[in-house]
C-alpha cells in the first residue's frame, strides 16, 4: 500500500496539483473555522474562569446580591463564627483613551484590608507601596501591572487617561504589580483602585459588587456558606469563586455554541468537495484501477488506496486548517469578546493558543470529513469490474439504478426532520443534531435524482438559446451524473445554509424592529452606560425630578433592570412606571389583556412576563413567579404574557413602586423621556445634556439613535455568522471551479474533436459558462425550499434553544434576490479558468487524449 501511495497517488497529486489544492482547501476551510471558533471560545471561557480565580485570590466564598451588596453587610458578617476576613470588591471594565492597549479590568478593593485576600507582589525596588496613605488620599491613585505599564509607556507617578462613565478621567500609577497570580487576571490588563473611589467613579452608591470572604482554618466551605446564608437571608448569594465562574461561563457558552453549527456546515461542505474530487479521480484513474485489478489487486486494496488518499488529504488539510485557524482565532476572540461584553456584560482578554485537545479534535474532524467524502467513491472504485475499467471510451462510475427507493428514503428522512422540528420530543443540542442529520441525509438522497430532473428540463431551454454551446453543456452535465450531483449538492448545501441563516437573521431583525417601533415609543433615552446588561453607572432615582424640570420634557419614566436567579438561571427583572408606559406603548399580548395588565401590575402588585420566559419556565397568567429579593422570597402573580425582546434570558416586568418596595434600591438604568407637543427632540436632548454635564455620565439619545444602537448590538451578535456565510459561499465557488476544471479534463478528446470540426473558442467557452450557470441555478432551485425549511427551523427550535424566542417565519427574499444577481456572476467567474483552459487546448494533443 505504501508503494502505491508513494508512486500512484503522489504522482496523481503532482499531475493535478491545482485540483488537489482546491480539494484540500475544502478541508482547510472547515477545520480552520472549527478550530478557530473552538479555540477562541475556549480562551474566552478559560479567560473568564482564570480572571475569576485570580481575582478571587485566597477568598473561599463570595457574597453577591442583585443590585449590589450594601456597605453595612460587611460589618454584619465580620464577627460571625468561622469568618477570618472579609473584603469588598467592585469590578468594572473600562477602555483607555489609547484604545489599542485593550480594555482594562478595574478592580476596586480596600487596599489596607485586602492583604489577607490577595497577594499583590509589588514590583520594582520598593517592596511595597511607598505610602499607602498617599494612595488612599489621592482619588486618582491606581496600581497597574508591570506588563501593562510597559506597553502603555507608563512609569510610577505618571498618569494615563481612561474612559470612565463620567467622562475621560486621568489616573496616576502609584505602584506596579509583578506578573504573578492576581496581576495575571484579564491577561494583565488590570487597574487596581480604592474601592471607595470606585464607588464614586462607577456610581455604585453605598454598595459593593461583592464581598470576598476568607474562612478560619478548620471551617469548611459548607459550614461557611451555612453561617453566611443564615445571617444574610435568601436575597444574598453565597458561593465559591469557581461556582460563580461557572455561571458566567454558562451564559457565554450558550452564545458561542451557536457558532459550532456554522463550523459544522463549513466542514460538511468541505466533505462534499472531497466527495466530488474523489468521484472524479475514480473516473480519471479507472484505467489504472483496471490495470491494478488485472494484476491481482483485490477490491479492498483499491478501496484502501483511495481511503488512504482521503486520510492523507484529511491529515494535510487538518494541519493546515489548524495553523490557519490559529491565525484566525485571535480575530474571532476579539469579535466574540466584544459581543459577549455588549450583550452579556461578561468578557475576557488574552492570547489564543490552540490547545492540543482542540487541535486533535479539529484534526479528527478534518480526517473524518475527508474519509466520509472519500468513502463512496472508494467503494465505487473497488466495485468497478476490471473489464469495464479497461474498456475504451467514455466512462462513468455507474449511479445506482434504483432511484425510486432513494427518493423515498430521502423523503422519509426529510419528513422525519420536519416532524421532529415541529413536534420536538427532545431538546437542545440533541434536537438540533437530530434534525440537521436527518434533514442533511434527506437532502443528500434527494439532490442527485432531483438535480438530474432539473437538468433535463434545462436541455431544451439551453438548446433553444444556444444551439451548440447549450447542447454541449447539457451533454457534459448529464454525462457525468456523479460529478454533477456532487457539485449541485455542495451548492445546494451552502445556499441552504446562506438562505436559512439569512432568513433567521432577517426574521430576527424585522421582529426586533417591529417590536422596537411598538415598545420603545418615548422621544429620548437618558442612559448612564452604553452596556445594556452590565451597567457602568446607575443614576440616583431623584434625578427624575431634575429631568422633569428641563424645558420641553413632558413625562419621565424610570427604568431599572436587575438580574436575579430564577430556578437557578439568571433572568431580567425590569421595573418602570407601568401606567404611563402603557399609555404610550403598544404591547402585544399572548395571554391577558391591557385592562388586566394595568389593573394587576399598577394596583395589585402583579407582573407581566415575556414570551420566552413563559415558554422557558412554562408559566402564564394565573400562575406566580417566585423571586428572591432583598425583602425575602416573594410570589408575584402573572397578569399578562407579552411579546418582548428585552432579554434572551426572559423578562419579568413589575411596577416601579413594587421594585422600590422589594429591592429598596432607587437607582436607575434608563430614563424614558417624552417631550411636550411641538418641542424639538434635538433641543430637549441638548438641554438635558447641559443639565447633567459634569454631574453624571449621560448618554442622551433620540429614539432613532437608540434603536440604531440596539440594531448595532444585534448585528454584533450575528457578526460571526456572516463570516461563516461568506465561507460557505467561498466553498461553493471552489466547488464550481473544481467541477468545471474536471469537466474540461474529462472532455478533452471531445473538445479536441469539436475544434477539429471547426468549433470556435467562444462556443466552447460559452458551453462551459452555461455548465457553471446550470450547476449554480440547479443548486439554488433546490436550496430555495431547503433554505426555507432550514430558516423555519432556525427561527423556531434553534432560536428558542439559544434565545428563548420563536421568531415568526420570514423568507429571505432580499438574500435570494442578491443571490440571483451574484450567483450568475460568481459562476461565470468560476467558469473563466476552465473555459480558458479548454480554449487553449491543442487539437492534436486533445484528440490523442486517453
Amino acid at each position: 500500500m505504501k508503494f502505491l501511495l508513494r508512486t500512484l497517488s503522489l504522482s496523481y497529486v503532482r499531475r493535478h496539483m491545482a485540483k488537489t489544492l482546491l480539494t484540500l482547501l475544502g478541508v482547510v476551510v472547515g477545520v480552520a473555522t472549527f478550530s478557530a471558533i473552538r479555540s477562541a471560545q475556549g480562551t474566552l471561557v478559560q479567560g473568564i474562569r482564570s480572571t475569576v480565580d485570580r481575582i478571587a485570590g485566597k477568598a473561599q466564598l463570595q457574597i453577591t446580591m442583585v443590585g449590589g451588596v450594601p456597605e453595612e453587610v460587611q460589618e454584619r458578617i465580620r464577627e460571625l463564627p468561622g469568618i477570618r476576613a472579609t473584603s469588598p470588591v467592585i469590578e468594572q471594565i473600562v477602555v483607555p483613551e489609547k484604545g489599542e492597549l485593550g480594555s482594562l479590568l478595574v478592580i476596586g478593593i480596600d487596599l489596607l484590608g485586602d492583604r489577607e485576600m490577595r497577594d499583590y507582589g509589588f514590583d520594582g525596588q520598593d517592596a511595597d507601596l511607598d505610602d499607602p496613605l498617599l494612595f488612599l488620599a489621592q482619588p486618582d491613585s491606581a496600581l497597574f501591572t508591570r506588563e501593562f505599564a510597559d506597553r502603555a509607556g507608563l512609569k510610577i507617578g505618571e498618569a494615563i487617561a481612561v474612559r470612565a462613565p463620567k467622562g475621560v478621567k486621568r489616573v496616576t500609577a502609584r505602584g506596579l504589580l509583578s506578573p504573578k497570580g492576581f496581576s495575571e487576571a484579564f491577561g494583565g490588563n488590570l487597574m487596581v483602585v480604592d474601592v471607595y473611589a470606585a464607588q464614586e467613579l462607577f456610581g455604585r452608591g453605598r454598595r459593593f459588587d461583592r464581598l470576598d470572604v476568607r474562612l478560619d482554618q478548620g471551617t469548611s466551605i459548607a459550614q461557611g456558606i451555612a453561617t453566611l446564608e443564615q445571617a444574610l437571608g435568601p436575597a444574598y448569594r453565597v458561593e465559591t469563586p469557581s461556582r460563580r465562574g461557572e455561571q458566567m461561563e454558562r451564559i457565554v457558552a450558550n452564545f458561542v455554541s451557536g457558532f459550532n453549527i456554522s463550523s459544522g456546515f463549513a466542514l460538511s461542505i468541505g466533505t462534499f468537495l472531497i466527495f466530488n474530487a474523489f468521484n472524479v479521480a475514480v473516473n480519471r484513474r479507472r484505467r489504472d484501477i483496471g490495470t491494478l485489478r488485472a494484476l491481482g489487486a483485490t477490491p479492498r486494496q483499491v478501496q484502501f488506496l483511495f481511503l488512504a488518499e482521503g486520510l492523507l488529504i484529511g491529515i494535510a488539510g487538518g494541519i493546515v486548517g489548524c495553523l490557519t485557524g490559529t491565525m484566525l482565532s485571535q480575530g474571532f476572540l476579539r469579535m466574540m469578546g466584544q459581543t459577549t461584553e455588549t450583550v452579556y456584560g461578561v468578557t475576557s482578554s488574552g492570547t489564543v493558543h490552540l490547545p492540543p485537545g482542540i487541535a486533535l479534535e479539529s484534526m479528527a474532524l478534518g480526517i473524518l470529513a475527508s474519509l466520509v467524502g472519500a468513502w463512496g467513491p472508494a467503494l465505487t472504485a473497488s466495485r468497478i469490474p476490471p473489464t469495464e475499467a479497461l474498456a475504451k471510451g467514455a466512462f462513468q462510475a455507474r449511479l445506482p439504478t434504483r432511484v425510486a427507493p432513494r427518493i423515498a428514503a430521502g423523503c422519509v428522512a426529510l419528513g422525519c426532520a420536519i416532524l421532529l422540528a415541529m413536534y420536538p420530543p427532545l431538546g437542545g443540542n440533541q434536537l438540533i443534531l437530530s434534525v440537521l442529520l436527518l434533514g442533511g441525509t434527506g437532502l443528500v438522497l434527494l439532490v442527485g435524482p432531483l438535480s438530474r430532473m432539473l437538468l433535463q428540463l434545462f436541455i431544451p431551454l439551453a438548446a433553444r438559446f444556444a444551439p451548440v454551446s447549450g447542447r454541449l453543456s447539457s451533454d457534459a452535465l448529464l454525462g457525468s451524473p456523479r460529478r454533477t450531483s456532487g457539485t449541485v449538492m455542495a451548492m445546494a448545501f451552502s445556499l441552504t445554509f446562506v438562505l436559512g441563516f439569512g432568513g433567521y437573521m432577517g426574521s430576527t431583525k424585522a421582529t426586533m424592529t417591529r417590536w422596537m417601533d411598538d415598545a420603545l415609543t418615548c422621544d429620548l433615552f437618558v442612559r448612564a452606560s452604553a452596556n445594556f446588561s452590565r451597567p457602568d453607572f446607575l443614576f440616583p432615582g431623584a434625578l427624575r425630578d431634575e429631568l422633569l424640570k428641563v424645558p420641553g420634557v413632558r413625562t419621565v419614566e424610570s427604568y431599572r433592570g436587575v438580574h436575579p436567579l430564577f430556578r437557578g438561571q439568571p433572568i431580567l427583572v425590569g421595573s418602570i412606571e407601568v401606567g404611563p408606559t402603557m399609555d404610550r406603548t403598544k404591547f402585544e399580548y399572548l395571554q391577558g389583556n391591557p385592562e388586566a395588565m394595568r389593573r394587576g401590575v399598577t394596583r395589585e402588585g402583579m407582573c407581566t412576563v415575556s414570551e420566552n420566559f413563559s415558554r422557558k419556565y412554562n408559566l402564564g397568567v394565573g400562575q406566580q413567579v417566585e423571586l428572591v429579593t432583598p425583602s425575602g422570597v416573594v410570589r408575584i402573580p402573572i397578569a399578562a404574557v407579552l411579546r418582548d425582546y428585552s432579554s434572551d434570558q426572559g423578562m419579568v416586568l413589575i411596577d416601579r413602586t413594587l421594585f422600590l418596595r422589594l429591592w429598596k434600591d432607587d437607582r436607575i438604568d434608563i430614563f424614558d423621556v417624552s417631550i411636550t407637543h411641538g418641542a424639538d427632540a434635538g433641543q430637549v436632548r441638548n438641554a438635558i445634556r447641559a443639565q447633567l454635564a459634569g454631574k453624571y455620565p449621560a448618554l442622551v439619545s433620540t429614539r432613532k439613535e437608540f434603536t440604531a444602537e440596539i440594531n448595532k448590538a444585534i448585528d454584533a451578535f450575528y457578526a460571526l455568522t456572516r463570516v461563516t456565510v461568506f465561507l460557505a459561499l467561498l466553498v461553493a465557488f471552489l466547488g464550481i471551479v473544481t467541477s468545471l476544471l474536471i469537466s474540461v479534463a474529462e472532455r478533452t478528446r471531445e473538445i479536441g474533436i469539436l475544434k477539429a470540426l471547426g468549433a470556435l473558442r467562444s462556443q466552447i467557452g460559452r458551453s462551459i459558462v452555461l455548465e457553471a450557470l446550470a450547476l449554480a441555478l440547479t443548486g439554488l432551485i433546490l436550496a430555495i425550499p431547503a433554505g426555507n425549511l432550514f430558516a423555519a427551523f432556525m427561527e423556531g427550535a434553534i432560536a428558542e434553544f439559544f434565545t428563548g424566542w420563536r421568531m415568526p417565519h420570514h423568507y429571505p427574499w432580499e438574500i435570494l434576490g442578491q443571490l440571483l444577481i451574484a450567483l450568475p456572476l460568481v459562476s461565470a467567474f468560476a467558469a473563466w479558468i476552465p473555459a480558458r483552459q479548454a480554449g487553449r487546448m491543442k487539437i492534436t494533443e486533445a484528440i490523442e487524449y486517453e
Binding site: F3, R14, R293, A294, G296, A297, T298, Q301, P386, L390
Partner: protein
C-alpha cells in the same frame, strides 16, 4: 492448465448480447495457443474469462484446477496475482511510474519483500533487454519497448499462464516480430502456457495451436505444424 465447459457469456443491456455461446475447450500446460476471429466473435471475452477478469453467465472455467466461475471477487484477484499474467494491446502501463516500478507493481500488490522485488525486477528487465531503461517513464519509450515492459511485468510473478490480447496490434512489423520472438523464447525457456488473441495471421502462425471463433462459438481448433519455431 485450462478447461472450459459449456461456457456462455451474455451481456444485458437494451437488448441481450450473447458474446460466448457454449464454449468447450481444453488447453494443456506448456501450450502456446492463438485465438483468432472477426470482431465481435468473443475473443477478448474468452480471454477475460480465462484470466478471471470476468465471470461466465453459465458454465465452468477451470484454470490450474480452480473453477473461476465459483470464486469470489477476492479469490479471483488472488488468482490473478499468482496464476496468470496479462499483456494488453494498449500496454496499460502506469504512466507515472518508472519502468522498474511498473514491473514491480504486481509484486508489491502481493506483499513481496523489497529485496526480492529488486532482484526479480532486475532479472526480468535483463531478460527482456530493458535493464538500461529501468529508470525511464513509459512516455520516454517506443511502442515496442513499452510492450516489452508489459511482458516483463507479466513475467515477474512467474505465473504459469500468460494471456496476451493483441500484443502486436499497436506495433509495426519489425517491433511486432521482436515481441513474438520474445514470447516464443519465454514459452520455450520457461514453459509458460501462452494464450494469445490476435487478428494477425503472422502472429498466429507463431503458435502451436490455432483456435478460431465466430459468433461466440469455436469454429475451428487445429494444431499448427511448425508453430512456435
Amino acid at each position: 492448465m485450462l478447461k472450459l465447459h459449456d461456457v456462455i457469456k451474455t451481456y444485458d443491456g437494451k437488448s441481450q448480447v450473447t458474446a460466448l455461446a457454449g464454449i468447450n475447450l481444453t488447453i494443456g500446460a506448456g501450450e502456446m495457443v492463438a485465438i483468432m476471429g472477426p470482431s465481435g466473435s468473443g475473443k477478448s471475452t474468452l480471454l477475460n474469462l480465462m484470466g478471471g477478469l470476468d465471470v461466465p453467465t453459465s458454465g465452468q472455467v477451470m484454470v490450474a484446477g480452480e473453477d473461476l466461475a465459483r470464486e469470489s471477487e477476492k479469490g479471483r484477484s488472488l488468482f490473478r496475482r499468482s496464476k496468470v499474467s496479462y499483456i494488453f494491446q494498449a500496454y496499460h502501463l502506469m504512466p507515472t511510474l518508472k519502468v522498474s516500478q511498473n514491473v514491480a507493481l504486481p509484486l508489491h500488490l502481493a506483499g513481496v519483500p523489497a529485496g526480492e522485488i529488486n532482484r526479480k525486477v532486475a532479472q526480468v528487465l535483463k531478460e527482456v533487454g530493458l535493464e538500461a531503461r529501468s529508470g525511464h517513464l513509459p512516455d520516454e519509450l517506443s511502442g515496442g519497448e513499452r510492450q516489452r515492459v508489459a511482458i516483463a511485468r507479466a513475467l515477474v510473478t512467474g505465473a504459469p499462464l500468460l494471456l496476451a490480447d493483441e500484443p502486436t496490434g499497436n506495433l509495426d512489423t519489425a517491433r511486432g516480430e521482436e515481441i513474438l520472438n520474445l514470447l516464443r523464447t519465454i514459452h520455450r525457456e520457461r514453459g509458460t502456457t501462452i494464450v494469445m488473441v490476435t487478428h494477425d495471421h503472422h502472429a498466429a502462425s507463431a503458435c502451436d495451436r490455432l483456435i478460431k471463433l465466430r459468433d461466440g462459438k469455436v469454429e475451428g481448433d487445429s494444431v499448427q505444424a511448425g508453430g512456435g519455431k
